[in-house]
């Protein structure tokens, strides 16, 4: 076995353990952290395939952004595990069917590959001076430009939709208008009145306290 193979099996084993941890951990925060760990390990496996761009993007997007928000939510929620497990027996048959389906699908993919139909050739070591990032960029911005742009538009639409759905303008809401606050001048707020000084009269002078 070469070093690469040893590393591959080591990281794959850790990945499988981490993935098992995601579904078996009792504490939801631990489950989320196992998922982060699993992402890191799959990134390393991609690195072993010399797909550095994908590996780094996996860490950037999933570990750096998605899972942070996920953790954020999971930590705020008070998840009651007993309540969650209430419907376990009721939904178990459905779960088993889905699990079987997924196993069959994965099995069929492996079977098709085994027959040699549409088989992917094993990853070949790249030549010196090859840049994974450049190769990906050239493909994305030339051959697959329109699908790429389409995906970007769909994502943008999703962002706008999410913001529109969560933004409500209720009447009577007291919100700050920062621009108005910054633009305020002293003469808008106070009026300075000039008054003549008056002498206190003899009769109405305040009583002296003892």
């Amino acid at each position: 076995m070469t070093i690469t193979e040893i590393l591959f099996y080591a990281f794959s084993a850790v990945l499988v353990v981490a993935a098992l941890g995601v579904i078996t951990a009792r504490n939801p925060v631990h489950a989320a952290l196992f998922l982060v760990f699993a992402f890191f390990n799959s990134a390393v496996i991609w690195l072993l395939l010399e797909a550095e761009f994908l590996a780094i993007v996996l860490v950037l997007v999933y570990v750096g952004a998605v899972m942070v928000l996920f953790l954020f939510v999971v930590m705020m929620l008070d998840v009651d595990l007993a309540q969650m497990k209430e419907g376990f027996t009721r939904y178990a048959p459905l779960g088993i069917i889905i699990a079987v389906l997924v196993v069959v699908e994965i099995g069929s993919v492996v079977w098709v590959k085994h027959l040699g139909v549409g088989q992917q050739s094993a990853a070949v070591a790249v030549v010196e001076g090859y840049s994974n990032t450049r190769a990906l960029g050239e493909l994305l911005y030339t051959k697959y430009l329109y699908p790429f742009e389409l995906a970007a538009m769909v994502l943008l639409l999703a962002i706008v939709a999410a913001i529109v759905l969560t933004m409500r303008h209720r009447a009577g809401l007291k919100a700050q208008d920062i621009a108005a606050q910054v633009a305020v001048r002293a003469k808008d707020r106070i009026r300075i009145v000039k008054m003549d000084a008056e002498k206190p009269s003899e009769t109405s002078s305040p009583e002296k306290q003892p």
Binding site: E52, V59, L60, G64, V68, F72, M75
Partner: protein, 357 residues
């Protein structure tokens, strides 16, 4: 990319062990130098802020207080590490490491002098973004694992703030990538060669956004609501003591140095001389030579300048209110970067500035 001298010395070993030994030695040297710079940065911070506030600052330990950092470390080392009874002990102790490790790992792709980067990978800029965003886990987990309300509030603030400013930071770097045409940091520096070649001149708004976002990412004043001592005691590290606290402290300062170095690399030409292409008199010509030492000195002085700005800002500005931080990140910085990317698109189309020639 093991240099020949090292390869000769280690030639009796198999190639992969050679690589491990070489990179191990480089990593240890880099680690020690970053930690040393960080140690003296704490001293510089106290002296600079002292002088801004018309005080003296620490000047008792050693000449000019130069040994103060070591005295601090000694003090923190001998202090007890208190682990709260109801905390999640494993995560509580893991969190400081999760804060420090990404901060140190990022140094691998920073070009230190002409022709030298520990690991000159093509997706270097993405690697930096990925690792700096992974650094937020240390803060979040510290807040959660400590099982303390103040710490948790600090962690929540940190998570929201870091996610918000990461986006502006990424957009600011899009401009740099457009101009350099590469994600490799050495290539980005090379693209800034020539008179007035620094990207700063064409991307002043992006530079401002990047540097201020960097300030917010490192949770430094005026963005230090994460540890706002007037409201939530000390924020996410309120339950930490001794060396466990010190590791967070080190992570924050290493991140400061890193942001300064990256600002220098992305907008001020890294190890390039700012007088590149000038006709200098003979006795001054050495500052333009591509000698490693000269290059390193330029990078170092640029880093030192930005670090000084960090300290200067801390002594000058009052802390932002939390909603103002969010407003600045989402409603001001992101639109500014988007507009400037459009401006750069026009520049690129007309072949002006970094795109000329």
């Amino acid at each position: 990319m093991i240099p020949e001298i090292a390869a000769d010395l280690l030639s009796f070993l198999p190639q992969w062990i050679q690589a491990i030994v070489w990179y191990g030695v480089v990593a240890v040297i880099l680690f020690i130098s970053v930690i040393l710079i960080m140690a003296f940065l704490t001293l510089a911070e106290r002296r600079v802020i002292g002088s801004i506030q018309a005080r003296i600052g620490p000047n008792r330990v050693g000449p000019f207080g130069i040994l103060q950092p070591f005295a601090d470390v000694l003090k923190l080392l001998v202090k007890e590490i208190v682990i709260p009874e109801k905390s999640n002990k494993f995560l509580f102790l893991l969190a400081p490491l999760l804060a420090l490790i990404p901060a140190l790992c990022t140094w691998a792709v920073v070009p230190l002098w002409p022709g030298f980067t520990v690991s000159s990978i093509d997706a270097g800029l993405l690697y930096i973004l990925a690792l700096t965003s992974a650094g937020v886990y240390g803060v979040i987990l510290a807040g959660w694992a400590a099982n303390s309300k103040y710490a948790f509030l600090g962690a929540m603030r940190a998570a929201a703030q870091m996610v918000a400013y990461e986006i502006a930071m990424g957009f600011a770097l899009v401009g740099v990538v457009m101009a350099a045409g590469s994600l490799n940091l050495s290539a980005i520096i090379e693209a800034q060669r020539g008179v007035g070649g620094f990207f700063f001149w064409w991307m002043i708004p992006l530079f401002v956004v990047y540097f201020i976002s960097g300030l917010a990412e490192t949770n430094r004043a005026p963005f230090d609501v994460v540890e706002g001592e007037s409201e939530i005691v000390a924020g996410f590290h309120v339950e930490y003591s001794g060396m466990a606290f010190a590791v967070f402290f080190v992570a924050e300062y290493v991140n400061m140095i890193l942001i300064s170095a990256l600002t220098a690399v992305f907008f001020f030409g890294g190890w390039l001389s700012p007088f590149e292409g000038w006709n200098l008199p003979g006795w001054l010509a050495w500052i333009n030579t591509p000698h490693p030492l000269v290059g390193f000195l330029w990078l170092f002085s640029k880093i030192a300048f930005f670090l000084f700005c960090f300290l200067w800002f801390r002594a000058t500005f009052p802390r932002y209110r939390y909603d103002q931080i969010m407003r600045l990140g989402w409603k001001v910085f992101i639109p500014v970067t988007l507009v400037w990317i459009a401006v750069l698109m026009v520049l690129a189309y007309c072949k002006i500035g970094p795109w000329a020639g």
